[in-house]
Symmetry: C2
Subunit: 139 residues, 2 copies
Amino acid sequence: MSTPIAEVERVIAAFAEAWKGDDMEAVAGLCAFDAEFVNVVGMWWKGRAEIKVAHEFTHATMFKSSRLTILETSVRFPTPQLAIARSRWLLENHVSPDGEPLPARNGVLVNVLALRDGRWSIIDAQNTDIIEGVVSRPQ
Amino acid sequence: MSTPIAEVERVIAAFAEAWKGDDMEAVAGLCAFDAEFVNVVGMWWKGRAEIKVAHEFTHATMFKSSRLTILETSVRFPTPQLAIARSRWLLENHVSPDGEPLPARNGVLVNVLALRDGRWSIIDAQNTDIIEGVVSRPQ
C-alpha cells in the first residue's frame, strides 16, 4: 500500500509530467475544483477552470515543449489530511513571447494538498522564481 | 468571542505591524518553531530562528523603516485547525543595498496557519512579487 508521502510526491511528479506534455487537462485534474494558484509574477487564479485556462495560454506559447524538472520536494503533514509540499524546480526549453530560446531558470513551488475522498489533490499553489545573488527583488 | 477568521487576520495584521516597527522578535513570535518561509527571490528559510535572522538582516538594511501594507486578505479553512491566508501587499519606503530610495512595489504573500494550543501561528509562508504586464518572468 502506498504511503501518504508517496501519494503526495506522485501528484507533484504528475504535475511536471503534465507540464512537459502540455496536457492542461491533466494539470486541472490534479487540482481541487476550488484550488488557487499564484504564478511567478503574482497572477492569482481562483478555481480549477481559471488555472486550466491560464496554463493553456502559456503552454500554447512560451512554455510549449518546455520541460519542468522537480529537483527536490520536501513534504510536511500539519494534519493527516493536509500536506505542504515545497519543490525546487528547473525549467528548460521555454521561449520568449517572440519565440526566442531562453536560458533555463529555477524556482520554488509550494503546493498545499488535501486528502478528499481517498485522493490527494492540490488545493493551493504559489510559485516564486529564484534570483541568485540578491536578498530581495532586483532593482 | 473572536472568530477564527478574525484571529487569522489579526496574525497577518500583526506581521505587517512588526515589519513596520522592524520588530523581528515579534515576527518570529507569529511563526511556529518549525515554520518555513520563502521570500520573493526564492530564499528558503527553515524554522523560526532562520526566519528571524534573515528578516533581521534585511530590516537592518534595505527594509529598515519600510512600510508593509496589507491591501486585502482572503482566508480559507481546509480544516477547522488550518487556514490558508493569501494577501496582496504594498511595500513602501524601502531602499537599495546602497541606500537609494526605491519605488513602491506590490506582491502576493500566502500564509498557512495552524491552530495549536488555542493559538493561530504561521507554519508556512511564500512570497511572490507582482510584475505587471507579463505572464511569466521578465526576460
